[in-house]
């Protein structure tokens, strides 16, 4: 199956800082999604981004499919950005393979 590696595993930020999370994957994919799991356990979809760049408020994501990686940018971080960020990939096969996640802690 496809291997998904996320880095860094943990990230501590001061409120207002910017950060970049990375997702590498081992094979060509045509489905890539970023999720945020908040401290209460809810999984929220941030982006569906198998290629290209998207922005949503302070968050943006870029996927370079030919080089098998995706980046998630958090700008002007807030305490509500704390949680675990997951990258998940798939190939036309009704299943997403998830990375181990990046745990982000934003301190006030």
């Amino acid at each position: 199956g496809i291997q998904v590696e996320q880095s860094p595993p943990d990230l501590i930020l001061q409120e207002g800082a910017n950060s970049t999370l990375r997702c590498n994957f081992s094979d060509s994919v045509n489905n890539l999604q970023w999720f945020h799991q908040n401290p209460w356990g809810q999984l929220i979809n941030l982006f569906y981004i198998p290629s290209g760049t998207k922005q949503n408020g302070r968050l943006s994501a870029t996927t370079v499919a030919t080089e098998r990686y995706s980046l998630l940018y958090i700008s002007s971080s807030q305490t509500t950005d704390s949680g675990v960020y997951f990258c998940a990939v798939g190939v036309n096969d009704y299943k997403l393979s998830f990375g181990a996640g990046t745990t982000v802690t934003v301190r006030a």
Binding site: G41, Q42, Y48, A88, G90, Y94, F98
Partner: protein, 112 residues
């Protein structure tokens, strides 16, 4: 207004018991999923359904039996619960397998 709902939210039970988790989505999606999240927060697909038909069974023990009575519902029945079944189970849905997945709130199962 909840897009994907699950019941119950919490489930505490003894080893050997049988339990069910229900999932409903009101998004009109054709595809539904069950995921298991372990204590290290690793998420793994268990089952995928499309239009009530099982598409993926990701080497899940046959003690786990999903059922989809219609496109809006996907239930999970677990027989003879074991300690290792303790986890958070998430239901999700998407319009097709290539589109955004929306997750339910999760069911926290603890087997004693």
């Amino acid at each position: 207004d909840t897009a994907v709902s699950q019941t119950p939210k919490y489930l505490v039970t003894q080893m050997g018991n049988d339990k069910s988790i229900k999932c409903e989505q009101n998004l009109g999606h054709d595809t539904m999923y069950w995921y298991k999240q372990d204590s290290k927060k690793f998420l793994k697909i268990m089952f995928s359904y499309n239009n009530k038909e099982l598409i993926i069974n990701e080497t899940v023990p046959n003690r786990f039996s999903p059922k989809s009575p219609d496109k809006a519902h996907l239930n999970l029945h677990i027989n003879s619960l074991e300690l290792g079944d303790s986890a958070v189970y998430f239901c999700a849905s998407s319009q097709t397998e290539q589109e955004t997945q929306y997750f339910g709130p999760g069911t926290r199962l603890l087997v004693l």
